[in-house]
Symmetry: C2
Subunit: 206 residues, 2 copies
């Protein structure tokens, strides 16, 4: 996956200049390479990461206060890009949001690196919380926005709780993509989930 479009380095002026972005990128890619080679997260020292990336330890510590902060950026870089919402309708936006979760599930199956990082992250409450704060929560808020726009333009009932409805849309995809790694993720899954939900499950009245 390309890092060029990832969120690493998109932090604005605080993280700064292009030259420094390239250095960050090579450090993050170095960590990814080590993880892909099967080195467990716990065995990665700043020293080893510095050696792999061809930089000094100080260069790393200038950007991250420690290993865990660095790993959060690796996690973010390993995520699929944030989807661009077409904005044509709530339905279309929801399909794009669910499709990005499907891609996340596919990556988790095809990339040992993503799979390992994710599995190891779960056993570190600090990493898990940081991952949620920087990746999961913003996505959830994006979902709420899409649903509220749908309520405004008449695509979604106005009397439903958008937080519950968001879980109703993402739930079935997350169950398949994340909780049941052996389940199928067919290409039209996002569209089928969204359309089935919008249509409702009761038979049409005769």
């Amino acid at each position: 996956m390309s890092l060029a479009h990832s969120r690493a380095g998109h932090e604005g002026p605080a993280r700064g200049r292009p030259r420094s972005e390239a250095v960050e990128r090579s450090i993050i890619e170095g960590v990814m390479k080590l993880l892909e080679d099967g080195v467990p997260l716990g065995d990665l020292s700043i020293e080893r990461i510095a050696r792999t990336a061809g930089v000094g330890k100080a260069t790393i510590y200038r950007r991250w206060s420690g290993k865990e902060e660095l790993f959060v950026d690796v996690l973010r870089a390993a995520e699929p890009e944030d989807p661009e919402l077409p904005g044509t309708s709530m339905r279309d936006d929801l399909i794009v949001l669910l499709e990005s979760l499907r891609q996340r599930g596919l990556m988790n199956r095809s990339s040992a690196m993503v799979h390992n990082v994710y599995a190891q992250m779960k056993s570190s409450p600090k990493l898990w919380n940081a991952y949620h704060a920087t990746v999961v929560d913003p996505r959830r808020r994006l979902g709420y926005e899409v649903l509220r726009r749908g309520q405004q333009n008449g695509e979604l009932r106005a009397d439903v709780d958008v937080e519950l409805v968001n879980d109703i849309f993402v739930g079935p995809m997350l169950v398949r993509a994340v909780m049941r790694p052996e389940s199928e993720l067919p290409e039209d899954l996002a569209e089928r989930i969204v359309d089935t939900l919008l249509e409702g499950l009761r038979p049409a009245k005769p």
Copy 2:
């Protein structure tokens, strides 16, 4: 939680007589107690389990071929009881199924033992698979049956895939109960999910 109604010992004649059930129960309860006291799964030897339960090692090996087989029964005993479906309607049955997942989530939050066993199980593919085969898969098949009955009696559209619809019903509850341990699990959640889904999300036509 009471073991009296759990599935442990409900295996039929193969596991046999009431006296033997009581022995099994005391062994399983012994393991639970050790886990509640914070002993990690990996540190539990058959010897220690035998000592805690006040039985000989041979008594354990007569019932389970090893630690992992015993742990699978501990996992099953720690699960909420299989719900009794009222059978009055698909809606009512689905609410009971979802409510049992909500109870599972509440237990996972309130019981350190359940939480620890579950967390440790995830890191053992063998235990994870056994848990799925003995607990999760039968529940999923029960969901399919409920949905098929709903298609037959006109409560559910006949043109939807029951496997997808099952994920649509359980997904939002699982996301809250299992994936986001900090999310709320209000008392009426099962009912709200089922009714919102049956009603459909599109505004009623004027």
